[in-house]
Symmetry: C2
Subunit: 445 residues, 2 copies
Amino acid sequence: MKKNYQILLAKWVITVNPEFEILSDYAVIIEDSRIHSLLPAAEISELDFYHQAEIFDLPDHAIMPGFVNSHTHASMSLFRGLGDDLPLMDWLNHHIWPAESRWVNTEFIRDGFELAAAEMIRSGTTCMNDMYFYPDIVGHRAQEIGLRVVVGLIVLDFPTVWAKDADDYLHKALAVVDEIKSSPLVTAAFAPHAPYSVSDQPLEKIAMYSSELDLPVHMHIHETAFEVSEAEKNTGMRPLQRLDQLNLLNPNLLAVHMTELNEFEIERIAEAGVHVSHCPESNLKLASGLCPVARLQVQGINVCLGTDGAASNNDLDMLSEMRTAALLSKGLSGDARSCNAQQAIQMATINGAKALGLSDEIGSIEVGKQADLIALDLNALNTQPVYDPVTQIVYAANSRQVSHAWIAGSCQLADFQLCNLDEDKIRHKAQAWRNKIKPFDQEPS
Amino acid sequence: MKKNYQILLAKWVITVNPEFEILSDYAVIIEDSRIHSLLPAAEISELDFYHQAEIFDLPDHAIMPGFVNSHTHASMSLFRGLGDDLPLMDWLNHHIWPAESRWVNTEFIRDGFELAAAEMIRSGTTCMNDMYFYPDIVGHRAQEIGLRVVVGLIVLDFPTVWAKDADDYLHKALAVVDEIKSSPLVTAAFAPHAPYSVSDQPLEKIAMYSSELDLPVHMHIHETAFEVSEAEKNTGMRPLQRLDQLNLLNPNLLAVHMTELNEFEIERIAEAGVHVSHCPESNLKLASGLCPVARLQVQGINVCLGTDGAASNNDLDMLSEMRTAALLSKGLSGDARSCNAQQAIQMATINGAKALGLSDEIGSIEVGKQADLIALDLNALNTQPVYDPVTQIVYAANSRQVSHAWIAGSCQLADFQLCNLDEDKIRHKAQAWRNKIKPFDQEPS
């Protein structure tokens, strides 16, 4: 079969390889879904397939790996702004959970996922780690759209629209694993919601299945001080201690939030190889607590970044999340060198790939890896002049400067336009849901 | 003389008036430089001047007051990214001050100011409070461009390119006050740099002149713990105590940063009517400290927002600054209700106007005030659907959604395009400065 070649000529290529090389006036060459080679721009005409390749001229642009959003609830984008300026448990109990039980169905999942997928691709995210209902629908639609997704096999003790009890959730989880087996862009992770919403028996089964199938476990853990103190009251243990007893602390675990950690716990998760998904904007907005990122990094723990859902952020913008993470780490640690621009970019790309077990395939620009790439146009006023493209991207760039995105070599965003999604249709569906969920005549004046 | 009318028809008008009214399907009517009236959209055809008015149809947009950036060093935009991931004194001593003494001249000031002005208008800022060298050039160019600027009459003890000693700075300051008298868009504030860089005698004179001329005093104060402890060592007093003795603590003072404050100081500045300019992104990036915004607000202190210069932020984006301020206040106070979306918008608009003595003229959409307005297009995917335009702007909108800006009734941004500034020319000048300041052959590989 004839191969498909694309040559991306860029001012800068930020490889995020282990040496964090920055290449100037370089070409990234894509063969089908993978990175074929990296060459000085001046040498591309020597390539055998030069004349059959599609060439993208990106003279003011930086190419970097696409963002890996390591924690989100994509379909919740339809609840964006439904309850703001509220703490976590009030927001969940009085706004989000009632809305979910009233509105979530297969159509909601599909429309919400598409809204999130479009927003993510538009802002440079090429892979998301999702946790929500109907992972089968999400996986199916992700493959159709062409977005790389780790679908979350949600598990809860209580019944929802997706399953009736823990056994049913697990049964459906394994069915989804089977369903997505042949999908090149979709993988799965077990997604027990949180220590307080999933009991020991299903968690033990998840530990076992995760080990047998080598699948990640994606879970909210130690999100707030309240969660930890309630667990101590109810179980006599902090949640991490309980998860340790249930054999969940291992390199398959992606622990999300982790705002409440003592020194012993930090050492234990470092030793166990647990990954941490830091969601700074959601943690701040819900006043959930503050993840001690600098302390985790000192211990060698792999920290990646997530936006969380749009209902608690309220956008799905990884560039802005990266900036918030870098700024917050400096402010909290009192060290301006903490979470420097290079580390911030690693957190938003390769570290997410590692946490999801995908770092052999994505997260950096290296020959042989999947071509999950984005280009940022640094010609905008807010990123001029450019002394250093890396700090400029982290501290000054706006996600609207993402001009192009490729996922597995397929161009998903070209010159700021989505290639495979219809923005108007997505917007109209979102507005229709809005009018159903909160009719205008019920608004306070 | 024939009057000029503009009618802006918007989905939402966020007035930021004392009642914080949100008007739906409303028109803002501009007569010359001022807001003539606010009317339901359905009633505009009854206006006498309807047929001669220019009509802007903004069906998916929110109109709000333009942002007031209460602390910046505009021309430093040419140093954006010159030194990142560094603490304040290292950054100043080894990067910024050497670069300033080598490069700042009248051409640098003009080119840097234009780059900043363009970025600001593009992102919805209609008034900036500047502090840098050559306020005469800044004032002159601001009036030509059509941007509202409070020029900072910089005062330092040591010689710079602008003046040779404190008396010379003051002499030049008074000359600038005289020069800008007839400029409708330009006013002035005394801008003694900081307690550690200006001695008692010039500060006493500034207190006197500020009172006589009723001009604001714009000063970095208590930016870091180091500043406070050094002052205690050198003067036996904390800087605020010294400024109090010098009669500077009064409603003309806009104290910038204020990260180190004890309870006594908070009470004292509340009682004195001092305004505080909070610059969260700069404070985080330089790890300078954290301004206790929630505690200040409880005491009734007027807190406004600033980006600081682009060399320490690294953008001049007030929408992002507003979000950072709201999120950080929640995170630090542990209260998700702290700095809610309404308060965040007030900080970014009317509170800045109050701090600059301009709140009779700008900062809210009220009949008779200057028409300093912006429109945001909320149709973007990241702000869909809209349950509440106010929280959507603060927590989800991107500054690239600012579609229009008017300053004193003059349209400065229309359909995302700058009306009075040449982006390409500004960009080329910025790139020429970059190549002079840090030639590519001197870059580390």
